[in-house]
Amino acid sequence: MPRFFQHAPDHRTMLANNHWCGLNDRWISSQYLPALLVDIAERRGVHRDLVLSGTGLFEDHFLREGHCISTAQLERLVLNVQRRIGHGEAGFLLGNALADEPSSCLASLVPYSPSIHDLLCCLRNVSGIYSPMMWVNAHVDHERIYLVWRPRVSACAQTRQFWMDALSTLITASSKSIVAAPLPWQFEFSAPMTKHSEQYRVHLGDNTRFGCQVDAMSLPRQYLHVAHRAHTTAFHVAQHTIYRQHEKLSVPLGFYQTMHRYLQCRIHAPPPLAEAGKDFCMSPATFKRHLYSHGIRYQTLVDQVRREMSIYLYRIKGWNHDQVATYLNYSDMSNFRRSFKRWTGHSPVEFIAAIKSMA
């Protein structure tokens, strides 16, 4: 199994709690994603002033070398674009632009990728470039590969589905251009069903589910390693260029991401809020305010991490109820059953039956 697919969180990075970035830290290059978003809106007849309004970003910033914007600014930009471009099309347009536009740094990578595995490896490692709001984890079980997307900096509830639309379209479009045929990707979205089902149908196919537990996409494993072209020097050059670009950007860990990893490490006995605040060098009140400004409620996040872990153990590791309950430090099975129902809305037995019916 390739190294990056292993589920091995790095414990040391989690404790480096003064290295994470918050909503107002500027690290997203304004020459790439913001410029793409402005172009997309202009293609739909929306003037750039309307897109940039309230973001603190001006036209001349696009030409300034090394100019960066914060997550909050990007979120505002996305909200403007979403509101101005109708028919729920904005995310899909961004996804296609990321995969296709000659100005996109991924455009040179996609046509030379020998296999889906090589492409996904590279996309996973440089996710900070094209997806500053969401970060990705890859898991493989004996049948499928799963890409699970989570927020990077804040819970970004308003723009989360926009990013999922864009990322799903990017992955579908780029893998399709390697294989030269559509692949049977399956998509799960945590958002409820939107009224623009036609966009999902046309851009992602008919395998989309809404109201799920996680934001994830999966593909049968047999498509991963089929070589569609040889490992050329051009691919290595493209890969090297994009890795250097990623290094130059020095993508920091987001606050949400850090919190998530911190809790994932302590899943057996999640610390109370005050203790967690101490680990993050903050007083409980400051810590609470900080969480709130990033759209996080501590107990909700603890439950979410537990829920995601139990789903991971059931679906990917194939563990049984007792093993999962023990791993999450539940001594009493009925207690675990009740908690699981509270997190997911289903009892563990129902959940396993649903997984089996999905397969």
Binding site: R43, H87, F92, N96, S177, A181
Partner: protein, 336 residues
């Protein structure tokens, strides 16, 4: 100039052409900016005249309710003028609407000025302006609205196959200028309802461009948008009078064929496919052209169930695309 010269048809023709030329060279049409400036000058003139001929009322004499009511009316009529000027092309209908609204504005503005200034009894031109401008303005506005109605009827002829019975500009797709998926769903339920009352089936065609992503990658997304727009015009020409064309999503178009059975729908689909196959899309000024190809899925249903019809059309389209893909791989892998 002799009588011969005047009566000779050549001279008349020439003089006529000279007249039209000079007319077209200096069209005396005021731009919307100039009209807006005119309104501002009018409002300022009224204000200055009031200040020059009358005197400002004392604070205690001002009735604030009247200020709010009449000032509000003036502001709103001014905002209508701005809306008309910013949205409509120049022409007779705009002039009538503008003229009517300017008169109404002049009257309400004067009304407002009367509340804050006191004109002498002997020189009370303000009240006469008020009483003449308002009815005149309403008459001119009514004429303008009547002309606007006739203009709308003419435009509706141009919008045939794009809309029927129901209009909502929020539902229009910007790239192709036809209705989007929401408009399609509304029209589909209207069409199915009326077809069901005559116990006739309704058909839906979904048309998808082949290799559109490849086209976008090669020529850029802006050219892709232009292709979609021109394809829409082409499809519209090849549909029947009662059919409606909408943009479904991405590169997928939808055509509602009301009161059409499966056989006729297949015929229309074939005609559309032929039309697309012969469509030369020119890239910029080049003589070379791109010939797009399309795959069409069709579905027909007699019961009133728009969602099921949409789902069936989608499935039919996806099935045809899969068949086409496997046929293509068969062709490339089989030795000749």
């Amino acid at each position: 100039m002799t009588l011969f010269h005047i009566c000779h048809p050549c001279v008349m023709l020439r003089s006529h052409s000279v007249w039209t030329e000079t007319h077209s060279e200096s069209p005396k049409v005021l731009s919307n900016h100039q009209k807006g400036l005119g309104v501002a000058i009018l409002a300022l003139t009224q204000l200055l005249l009031c200040l020059m001929t009358g005197e400002v009322k004392l604070w205690a004499d001002i009735d604030w309710m009247d200020i709010v009511g009449e000032g509000g009316a003036a502001i709103f009529s001014l905002s209508w003028i701005v809306l008309i000027l910013s949205s409509r092309p120049t022409g007779p209908v705009t002039n009538y609407l503008m003229g009517g609204l300017v008169l109404i504005f002049a009257s309400t503005w004067q009304d407002f000025l009367d509340e804050v200034t006191h004109l002498p009894e002997t020189l009370n031109w303000g009240s006469s302006l008020e009483s003449i401008a308002m009815p005149l303005g309403i008459i001119v506005l009514t004429i303008g609205l009547y002309q606007w109605r006739n203009e709308q009827l003419a435009i509706r002829q141009q919008l045939l196959k794009r809309e029927r019975l129901f209009r909502n500009h929020h539902l229009i797709d910007w790239v192709t200028q036809v209705g989007g998926a929401d408009y399609l769903r509304r029209q589909l339920s209207i069409a199915m309802q009326s077809a069901q009352s005559h116990s006739q089936p309704t058909s839906l065609l979904l048309l998808d461009l082949d290799d559109f992503a490849h086209f976008n990658h090669r020529y850029g997304a802006r050219e892709g948008d232009r292709l979609l727009h021109e394809l829409g015009e082409l499809l519209m020409l090849n549909l029947r009078r009662n059919d409606i064309l909408c943009r479904y999503a991405g590169d997928r178009y939808a055509a509602i064929l009301p009161s059409t059975d499966a056989r006729s729908a297949a015929l229309v689909a074939e005609q559309l496919q032929l039309a697309v196959a012969h469509f030369a899309f020119h890239l910029g000024e080049q003589a070379d052209a791109y010939f797009p190809r399309a795959t069409i899925g069709a579905a027909t249903l007699s019961q009133m169930n728009p969602t099921a019809l949409e789902e069936r059309a989608n499935r039919s389209l996806e099935w045809k695309k899969r068949c086409r893909d496997s046929f293509n791989t068969l062709q490339t892998t089989e030795p000749c």
